[in-house]
Symmetry: C2
Subunit: 339 residues, 2 copies
């Protein structure tokens, strides 16, 4: 299992409390039949309306916006363009998987023991590289500090490398806006997506601010009509729904504080601080399989993390959901740890 | 404009009679809200249910089925795997475009004056090539005869080349089933799609019978979660709707005969026979721009064909729609030719 959210393997997707998949628990609501007619024709191959709305949402020029079939298509397009892909592990496994598919060299550098990036490590980066960083990073939940990110970009520039930020979890963490920081720069792009924050992994919508030096090349690689008509229709709604966006941000902030506080009371685990909607946990006295099984008997699915390169069998990742669910999770988790 | 169906350029997509986009006019009906909940979770990354239903529909083993974000993702995946891409022009422009994106050599061979493939031309094919053939071919509408297709496959085998059939228009032409012919063979795959026959270009669903010698490589290239949840939901319905399938086939057969008969009465054009739901027309006394403009003033969009490599400005392509529309088209077309 390379990814979380595999509820399909467990017979009854609806009966299970899925803590493995890190999606905003506040479901964005809509009437799907409003876009029924759109399905009978091709989406606009230029995605003009969608890109205009995204430009406003992202705060950049419409000429800098690309759209894709989930963030992973953009990741795939970017890695296709460079000789070598540099990642800091642990990170989202698709950075490496897509680099392998595209026949690229891969350089795996390590985050430090606290899962922070040490600038010193960037000395291994060369011309023709693309450095891909999750920001916040999955599965650690950590966001790069603003001043450090500036330095990372400057070092990349100096060494002739491209910087790609995967910000699929951006909205859960609002201390600075990297598109605002970089929107007049070359050599850096920022990918975001509807999947996590807008709670819609089923529509497969990714988008990005892409720097002008490679914009045309990226758009050339993306498939024609790559975003389906349902994604186009819904994005035009949710990207402009300021109250949904505000409520979701406030909710996650509050619930994250509560959940972290409660988890940190447990002595059998180490809890990493997070700026996202999921929490990485180090199991001090168990391995992931034991806890996974014990939680599954309690009808809760968690994410084992040994499939992330750089993590051993002592890590699990859990989502942040509604208070009621989180209380059920906490009870079950306490039982599982003491079982 | 590389493709048809660009109604978005003409202000009022709903007011225009779109004869440029070749979609089954019988709209498949559904209640989209039935799949609303599916959008809040990732699609099954294995697509188990969808692939089982496709295996039944295509008449092959479930282990031979791949699914994609429109047929074009599968085309892209196939061309990625080979050194050189061989096409017979005129054909669907994406065969060449994706080959260019993937940095492949391209060999363009020519169909003969009647737009049939001459076996003699296959002597240019070498080991490591992939031969991509539309069957029926777009924009010509012609299907390769069964016995000739067998010979093409045998020649490919002898010369060490892979044969890829793009059968996006398969259901409109039912004289033989190429998956039935090839399902135990290696070195040949068949792509089909929901776009044309099931009238749903907006959902972006492609699928294929893929031969076992390259199945794993193809699946590896396709993006994870590449098919959205709406496409999964609808495909499970329409692939099993035998009466929709039967009605659509009968309708197109009948209306195609009528439309061809009427068009052939016009002396200013040459009409190519077609085994699909569109018709290629050679303008004997006009160029495509003149007729395009004259039809547009009559609120009808047609497909200019000079963007197809191998066709000059004397060709247009039109779709086959309902009788009522076709009569409107015929009247407008007669006027446009005599204008």
């Amino acid at each position: 299992m390379k990814h979380g959210g595999c509820v399909y393997k467990y017979n009854n997707p609806d009966g299970i409390l899925d803590y493995s998949s890190n999606i905003n628990p506040i479901k964005y609501d809509f009437d799907l039949n409003e876009c029924k007619e759109d399905l009978y024709r091709y989406p606009d191959i230029e995605y003009t309306n969608l890109k205009n709305i995204l430009a406003k949402y992202l705060g950049c020029s419409v000429n800098s916006v690309s759209v894709s079939n989930g963030a992973v298509e953009l990741i795939d397009a970017f890695v296709s363009l460079f000789k070598r892909v540099v990642v800091f592990t642990p990170c989202f496994s698709e950075y490496q998987l897509r680099a392998e598919v595209r026949g690229k060299e891969i350089l795996k550098l390590k985050l430090n023991l606290n899962f922070n990036l040490e600038l010193e490590e960037l000395k291994y980066i060369n011309e023709g590289d693309i450095l891909v960083l999750g920001n916040p990073n999955n599965p650690t939940g950590k966001r790069i500090e603003k001043e450090k990110l500036k330095l990372i970009y400057e070092i990349c520039q100096k060494r002739g490398a491209y910087l790609l930020l995967d910000e699929a979890f951006y909205e859960f963490s609002d201390d600075y806006d990297s598109i605002e920081m970089f929107k007049y720069k070359e050599g850096v792009s920022v990918i975001r997506a509807a999947t996590k924050f807008f709670s819609l992994p089923g529509i497969r919508l990714g988008y990005a601010y892409v720097s002008r030096d490679i914009k045309e090349k990226i758009d050339n690689i993306l498939l024609p009509w790559t975003v389906n008509s349902v994604a186009v229709f819904l994005a035009q709604k949710f990207l402009q729904d300021t109250s949904y966006i505000k409520n979701s941000k406030e909710f996650i902030k509050k619930e994250r504080a509560f959940f972290l506080l409660e988890l940190k009371k447990l002595k059998e685990i180490y809890v990493y601080d997070t700026q996202s909607n999921f929490i990485l946990i180090k199991l001090l006295e168990h391995d992931e399989d034991t806890i996974f099984k014990r939680m599954l008997t309690r009808n809760i699915l968690i994410r084992k993390c040994s499939t992330f390169y750089g993590l051993n069998k002592n890590y699990i990742r859990i989502a942040i959901k509604y208070r009621k669910s989180n209380l059920i999770f906490l009870n079950a988790f306490r039982e599982a740890l003491y079982d």
